[in-house]
Structure formats: C-alpha cells, structure tokens
Symmetry: C2
Subunit: 338 residues, 2 copies
DNA sequence: TCGCTATTTGACAGCGCTGTCAACCACCGT
DNA sequence: ACGGTGGTTGACAGCGCTGTCAAATAGCGA
C-alpha cells in the first residue's frame, strides 16, 4: 500500500533517481531514449512526485495560486478547469484564495496567504488586477503573477481578449441589423473591463454617426438584479431603444426578462446582446447573442505562463511579456437575429 | 534572507527542536513554563513551520480534497466557498481534483492523487458518491471521506437534504395548485439523487390518486439540452401535461424555453418547477419555482466534519456518523404561481 | 587510433520537520 | 531511603525529492 516513489521509477527504468528527477522536471540534457524509458516507467507505475518532498528539497511549493473576489460561478469554474489542466501537465497544484477586494487589509491578506501557502506564482482575476498596491506587493515579494484583465498595467503580464474590439464588433452587428436607437448597460465600475466594453461601444456608435443619449446608457454591476434596474430605466424612456447591448450575459438576460414581463417581443421590438457566452446565454429564450471568451483556454495559458516562469529565462520572459491576447468570437443567436 | 526554522526557535528557547515541534502541534506533556518559553521565541522570530517539511515528515498535508466530475459551475462554486470557509478556520488548504466518473481508471486516478497530494480527507460529489469501488478504495487507504449525497450507503458519512421529501412537497404544491396532468423529467441515471427525486414525485402522485402515463415521464441528464428534448416530448403529447416538474433547474429552464418557443404561456397554460435554486431560476422569465439547497452550508459542514476527524475520537465519530441532514426550502416563483 | 570536449548520468548530502524510543526527572507510597 | 510510576525532554533516523559536483560516456577531429 506504500505509494510509488522516485526510487521505484528509477529501478523500473534502470536509471538513477536523479535522471528520473530530470525527466519529471523537463531538465535539458537527457538523451531521448532515456527519457522515453523513464516516461514509460512513470506511466506504468502511475508515479506522481510527492509535492512535500519536492517543495522541501527545492524550496518551492509547486503550487500556483488563484486569487479572486466573487466572480461568476461560470467564470470561476472555467478558469479553474483551465488552470488545473495546465497544473496537471506540470505536476503543480492549485491553491485558491477568495478575498474581498474592498477589504481594508486585502493586500496583507493575500500576501500572508501567499507566504503561508508558499505559492510559486499567482493568477489574479478582475477587479483585483486593478489594485496597484497588490501588484506592487507581489513584485516586492518577488512572486510572479499573471493578471486576467485588459488592464494595460506596465510590467503586469496579462491574458486577455481585446474587449474593446469585441464590443466594437458587437455594436457594429447591431447597427448592421438596422438599429439606430441602441442602449448600453455598463458593467461594474470597479472593473477595467467595463470601461473597455463601453469604449468599444462608443467607438462604433460614433463611427456610425449615432446618438448616445444619457437615457440610453444604464449603470449596472454585472449582476442580474442591477441589469433589471438598468433595463427598466432604458425601457421606460419616452422613445425606448430598439436594441440594448449589456456588458455581460447576466445583465442581458435581465433585459430579456424585463422585456418579457412588459410583453415586448425579442428580437422583434427589442434586440439584446450580451458578453461572455455563459451557459445562461443559451438557456434563456430567445438565445442570447453574445461574445464568446475562451475562459478555460485563458486560464490554461495564464497557468502555463506562470509555470514557465519558474526557470530563470522563463522568469525574464514573463517579466517582459506584455499582453497575451486570445481570439474572441461573436455568437449570434435569437436575441438579435430572427 | 534564510527563513526562520525550527532550529532557530529551539536555540532561542534553549530547548530541543522536538520540544518546539510539540508546542507547535499542541501535543500534550509539555510543561507550562517550557511551552511559554517556546511560544515567546516563536513570536519573537515570527516563525512559521514549513508546510512541505511538515508534510514530508508526518505524511499529512493539512489539506482536504474535493473530488468532482463536471458539476454545475454554481454547485461547484458554492461548495468550494463553504469548504474554504471551514478550511480557513482550521488552517487547512483545499485541493481540487476533477475526474471523469466513467473513466476506466477513475478509482486509481483518485487514489493516486490522494496519495500524491497527501490529502487528509476527501469530499465526494455526485455521482462519484455512488461508486462503491471508490468508497472502498478510500476506506482501504484509510482516508476519511464525506459524501455529498442522499445515497444511504452504510458507513459513508453524508451531508444531504431529504431530496425525496423535497420532491414530494414540490409535487404536492403542484397538485394543490389544481394540476392533475403533471409531467416529470428525470435526472441523470448515474445520480442517486435522480431516483430520490422521482420517488418523491411518485409518492405524491400516488397519494393524490393521479396517473403517471409513460408519455408524461421524460428522461433527462441534468443539462439544458436534454431538458429541451424531454420537454419537447412531453409537450408533444396529444393531451399535454399542465405542469412539469423537472429534476433540476437547468432542465426546468429548458421546459420554459420550449414553452416560450411554442407560445405556451407559463404558468397560465403550463406550470414549471425545478430543483436546486440556482441563480438561473431567478434569471429566466418567469422566475422558476424550485427547491433551495443550501450548498454552501453543506460544503462547510462536510469540510468541518473531515477536519474534526483528524483526531482519534473525531475519526471514530465520523465513522459512526450517518447522515447529516440540512433543511431545504421550497421557493415559489412565477413559473407555478401567478 | 587517440585525445579532447560536450553531453549525459549518478552518488550523495541535505531541505525542515515529525515519529520513535530512550533518558531523565519529580514525586508517590512504603 | 528506595524503587516505582508517569510526566517531560532530547537524540536521531528518516520522509522523498533536488542541487551539486564528479564520473562516465559519446562525439569528433586529427
């Protein structure tokens, strides 16, 4: 019942434990044939290195951390899934740290956790990505990090999609569908994303020579309830918009909800567009036109970037890395297209 | 720049490292005076035990694990949140292990992960809770576990709500609303929950002397797509039901979706009920009548039960513990009540 | 063929901590 | 005063792995 150790693998492969260690850690200077032998033995025995032992010997924890503040369950689940995929490939573990962005001692909390969990790197989600104090503390503690955000903070490697461009394209889509009275529901002001998405909207509207009356611009907070309020405001205008672009799917679903309850036909009388392509966008009727963000792939990329940064050159590369952009995709569904 | 070790503390306190270890781990049989000296030194030097070293030497990780197979993001997020709350209180970490229930080597995978991550205990979510092989392997490996499930497996401590009773009450609610042609959409057959929910439905229907024609019973898999198919089947009956009780919210939302697309008024012509009280149930129109499960509290309870089991008596208590039931609550919304 | 360098491999000493076990001590009853 | 008893302390051997450095081997030109 004893678990498989590096010695077992070494014996099985007919090499020294050090060579096994090299293969596991992807160190250079291992002959291809040797590497294959070792990998076969690892697979055969289903060997998994003991993290505690690795951590002790190498003074690393082989853990990366994910710090977040109350994201949508869907975002969290996908991000985690992507990160775990990457972690598995690299024999790393994932440590979670939910925090409160607005807490007085948020930075302290995170740093304390990072020290105790000994994480080798950290992924930050919005809006934590916008806390300059936190980024500074991580830099000071020499803990590599990647932010999941459009924030163009210098020196902060970021995995992102071009949110402004996506919002621009979505707005273009609405304009192309013949709409000229287009409303917009902004996202949470703590999130830089909200600004990006609004800027993309603005750009397309200006380019199309369309007006953006104040009554057509609602303030939301990325949740359903605030979306309903904003939608209610927009739809109560003397001349209501014929299309509403909400900064995320929850709020867009809220627009549809409001429309239903007012017997307004979607998309006949009101087209609705969202952002994120959450499952919800497929579960409301009609299906929601939205922007697909490959969150899972982004999580994977962020985790990989961190783990690559464990070597000296990798570390340098991460520091120099700017934005790592992934493609988004417009998903056109029944809420804008009959 | 070297960090403070147990040796430093021992030297400062004028005792052996073993005594420091005793104090840190709250072991008995340390004289009060000695303990104070050591504690003073710990504070003075700001000593924090190295988790890797502790883990390696003690073959414990101060981590509990969560094993799951593709649950709904909402379930996962809430369960995690509850478990993390409990972990924080006890200076434990949470390790995640997504697996594939149907994978040939699922049990092996979990066991290797458990050994590698050294988790001190494991929480299992459905349908993994129903794998007798997995439970047996965990018992054999002497790893304490708690299942999140109605499964009445002897010897498996479970955190749960009385799902059969909940389904019974929900069906009663539909009957009380005057419905007699009530359809049901079953959940994924891999999940024991599905059976419980159906049994509750059946009980209420029999008690009310109502018929359950085969055409009114659809098979779903807990996801939206399968819910649509089942809904489509039910609504295509020559005499369709006037109410549908779906085994979870995603499928209930699918029923509403189908109703909308067929211009069937909800709840006027068709009442719909779900199960779980996910955010989705509040985000479709009309709001979904459903059963609220306090997942977060359940996660917290499961994690606490595991960490309590780290002591000898606690372990015994866990082994003897049967079901730990938490109250559910019917949430009546617009999909059944005008 | 030999000698040289570059690549590949292995022996071994810890990393910081806990478990084991033996030594030590104080205090009891006789 | 003595041995017995149980609480208290410390010496030491690993836990499974990586870093260091030396040894072995391969590759190549002359």
């Amino acid at each position: 019942m004893r678990s498989v150790t590096i010695d077992d693998v070494a014996k099985a492969a007919g090499v020294s434990i050090k060579t096994v260690s090299r293969v596991v850690n992807r160190e250079p200077n291992v002959r291809a044939a040797t590497k294959e032998k070792v990998e076969a033995a690892i697979k055969e025995l289903n060997y998994r290195p003991n993290q505690s032992a690795r951590g002790l010997a190498s003074r690393r924890s082989y853990m990366i951390g994910l710090v977040y503040d109350n994201p949508s369950p869907n975002y969290l689940a996908n991000l985690q899934a992507g990160m775990i995929e990457a972690c598995r490939d690299n024999h790393y573990g994932l440590a979670l740290n939910p925090v409160t962005y607005h807490a007085e001692d948020m930075v302290e909390q995170v740093m304390h956790w990072a020290r105790q969990a000994f994480v080798d790197g950290v992924v930050l989600t919005p809006p934590l990505t916008d806390s300059e104090a936190l980024l500074e503390a991580l830099r000071a503690a020499d803990i590599p990090f990647v932010i999941m955000s459009s924030r163009g903070t210098a020196g902060a490697p970021a995995v992102l999609i071009d949110e402004e461009e996506a919002a621009y394209q979505m707005t273009r889509h609405l304009i192309d569908m013949g709409h000229s009275r287009i409303g917009f529901i902004k996202g949470h002001p703590d999130h830089y994303s909200s600004r990006c998405r609004f800027m993309g909207f603005e750009k397309a509207m200006k380019e199309g020579g369309l007006e953006m009356p104040a009554g057509y611009i609602g303030q939301g907070y990325f949740d359903f309830a605030s979306g309903r309020e904003a939608a209610s405001q927009l739809l109560s205008q003397p001349t209501p918009p014929t299309a509403v672009f909400a900064s995320n799917d929850d709020m867009a679903a809220a627009v549809i909800y409001e429309a239903h309850s007012r017997k307004i036909d979607v998309p006949g009388e009101l087209a609705v567009a969202g952002f994120d392509d959450t499952p919800l966008s497929r579960q409301v009727w009609p299906g929601l036109t939205t922007v697909r963000q490959p969150i899972r792939a982004m999580g994977r990329m962020a985790a990989e970037a961190l783990m690559d940064a464990m070597t000296a050159e990798g570390r340098k590369k991460l520091e120099e890395a700017g934005e790592m952009a992934i493609d988004f995709e417009l998903q056109l569904r029944g809420s804008t297209v009959r």
